[in-house]
Symmetry: C2
């Protein structure tokens, strides 16, 4: 625990101790054998596992849409692991069933669904988005559960191309194919007029539009689709509006920034992951739905007789298991409930504001420093930028420069991994050459850390 | 931790301290507010959460297909929670990526796929089964990813009606409707000749059979479908054979009992949850596939540019994220790896043998004791039985008796919950009146515990 909790979060330690797959296999002795091992040997194996793991809780880990260590949430995680509850029914998970309900109701309040709603914590944002497709389809075609997919017309849904992996509808369980998932072209976000045009075209070709997925906080750029205008179009064409706010939902906590999600109260469903910006422990992912007619349960129920007996001695409407597509389901809401209780909404709001102020500081520093260039002005906590080493700074803008710039980020990344000083992601994006993507999550990230990141990138790449 | 780990597993303590939803809401003060709370208050909230939770690790918890506390696995869980790794890529989860691979390879070896295979740990048995449907469909119709569901004929799959909630294909993401999911009638297990007949009928009606789901260890009765015969039929008709061995897979560990799954090496895919009989911490659920052509990745890849850059400095074939339908994915394999390493295959085998011997003892006791009656001879660790209080013992067999017997289990269950002495499930099953289902998982369950259960049921129900 000393190693995994304290050392891992110590800024003086390394973020990672890089080993290649081949080296690591040798170091770890992964083979499982007939005989067991002594306790001291197992303890050493735990130490090794910790040592060679990436410390995602380290103050210089900026590689994903989550980071840092929230101590209250961690305590809740430990309790959950020790008690091994699973949310089938009230009788096996009474405390956590009620806590999930309390958290969902509070999240629904923050979305602005004044008449309430329903929801379920689940195994991640992809699953939330798949719930949305399922509900939207079932809402439009309640017969689908009996008659099957072959009985419905060709359905199409619309999304911005900006959806990240959490929005990977394509080829996934929901099996919307490329011809059924239409992308709305954009510059960072969905363009409502283009959306309307696509809907009209699809209808004229005999397909049946049923859903729009708007993204609030895209994975790479942190962009927000204009929900208000999209909601107008969804109402006009009777389409289910789902908002993937897995990453951007946290802005709802902030009076200053909630305008980014203006109109979200008009959505039919929302995905929102407190394990991202709000730092609840992994996983903590909520799917929320405005419907009050028990659609979630009607769509997914299988009424297993060994769990959902109707002759129980308590109010079985508390049994949540039949809303879920999972059977065993962990009480992830508790990890959010406990920290929320400890910190209060006020502190959560401050954290979001602080993170976005720090991201803004970073963006200004990038504009100020030679060799750094923003990909776009950040709306949220994603700050995307290129770094040019001195050797490239005097080249004229053109394909030659971009081709060279494209090779810089991978080398800097390799060097930072091998040094273990920090982790920052990079990627190409459409026609754009490889750029860095910084993700700023408070309270762990300070202005000093931002300076450190830019200094370190320069140090690692200046000879290129 | 004292409360959640030591007291929870102490046989002298209660399994649960029952409160109704209304009482519990008052006790817990669930409301989330603007202001935070002091550390001492939060500590008290943790204590309360533990106190009113069901102790699934208690020696007298027999309510689900998992139970007990495996200390090595719990340590692994704590490490995972503290480090917050997520299995997108080798670079963010190097240790756990390799461990997952090692565990999958060993499980594949135990299934008997001599040429190897592939697999992925995921959020639960339902998800494994959905992976299977996806792969089977993609295997038969590789165009589906481009052309969509509307481009394929009416597909049908076959399963025994005995599939539990983990097999809830119907109405779930895969959206096989009632007309697309055909059940093979049975007495506890699938009848191969009935399966063949259904396949022929479906074909003659113009539908396209593509998959059979055989169950190894059903949820209620613990029955095993005859895999060998089903595999013959699948070969004959070119159908994907998936074996749902979430619960029964543990028998593969035992030389004595692996015959229950004879023929499993002929399956195309297998679901196997080490968090059930083998006591790895929740969740620990593996989907395994015999294919060696990267089908899992081909079917599910979305090639997100911000994760799966091809210009990385290491062998990117170690990046597992593109096989998954989830984005964030916890390293559940580690919870199994560490305990397996500590105990060795030998001890795991002994545990399975011990559990099945204890279940056998319980069955014999039931036959011996007045007022108890087996529903069927157990094949595995599920022991299903009725209890008749003395007042019913002299009634003639007939609808009147069964109607009365049906009401016994719910009352006994209510009383055991309120007393907190143990938890045993009950359910009706097809035409059978409510019966108890004991689930025996070693090493926590002893013969003394079996005697205790039968004594306690009698004590709680003798006046009915």
């Amino acid at each position: 625990m000393e190693d995994a909790v304290k050392k891992a979060t110590d800024v003086r330690e390394k973020v990672c101790e890089w080993r290649s797959p081949e080296q690591l296999k040798e170091l770890l002795d992964l083979e499982l054998r007939d005989g067991g091992e002594s306790e001291s040997k197992i303890l050493q194996r735990c130490r090794d596992a910790i040592r060679y793991s990436v410390k995602t809780t380290h103050p210089h880990f900026f590689n994903q849409l989550y980071a840092g260590m929230e101590p209250y949430s961690l305590v809740a995680s430990f309790i959950v692991e020790a008690l091994k509850p699973s949310l089938y029914t009230y009788e096996v998970a009474p405390v956590f069933t009620l806590m999930e309900d309390a958290v969902l109701r509070k999240m629904i309040e923050m979305i602005g669904w004044e008449e309430g709603g329903d929801g379920i914590f689940n195994a991640g944002g992809s699953m939330s988005n798949m719930y949305a497709v399922n509900l939207a389809r079932y809402h439009h075609f309640p017969d689908i559960k009996e008659a099957g997919l072959s009985a419905v017309p060709r359905l199409v849904m619309f999304t911005s191309q900006e959806v990240g992996l959490t929005g990977k509808f394509k080829g996934s369980f929901v099996l919307l194919s490329q011809s059924e998932l239409l992308c709305v072209f954009f510059r960072g976000k969905m363009i409502p007029s283009a959306l309307e045009l696509l809907i009209k075209t699809a209808k004229s070709e005999g397909a049946v539009p049923f859903m729009v997925n708007a993204t609030a906080g895209t994975t790479v750029l942190g962009a927000f689709d204009p929900i208000q205008e999209i909601a107008d179009i969804c109402e006009k064409y009777n389409l289910w509006l789902h908002v993937d706010a897995c990453w951007g939902g946290a802005a709802l906590m902030s009076n200053k920034h909630q305008h980014l999600l203006k109109g979200i109260h008009r959505a039919n469903s929302v995905a929102w992951n407190p394990h991202k910006m709000l730092m609840a422990c992994l996983q903590c992912s909520a799917f929320l739905v405005r419907d009050k007619t028990n659609l979630l349960q009607r769509c997914h129920s299988s009424s297993a007789s060994y769990l959902f007996q109707q002759d129980k001695f308590y109010d079985v409407s508390y049994d949540t298991g039949d809303k879920s597509v999972q059977c065993s389901r962990k009480p992830d809401a508790f990890k959010f409930w406990l920290m929320w209780k400890a910190l209060g909404t006020g502190e959560l709001e401050e954290r979001v504001d602080r993170a976005l102020a720090t991201a803004r500081y970073l963006a200004e520093e990038i504009k100020r420093r030679e060799g750094f260039r923003l990909v776009m002005e950040p709306e949220y906590a994603n700050v995307c930028f290129w770094y040019s080493p001195p050797s490239l700074r005097n080249l004229p803008d053109g394909p030659e420069l971009w081709k060279k710039l494209h090779t810089v980020a991978p080398v800097v990344k390799e060097r930072m991994m091998k040094k273990g000083s920090m982790m920052v992601g990079y990627q190409p994006h459409r026609d754009k050459a490889n750029f860095f993507r910084m993700i700023v999550i408070s309270p762990q990230a300070s202005r000093l850390d931002m300076d450190f990141v830019l200094d370190e990138i320069h140090n690692l790449g200046k000879d290129l």
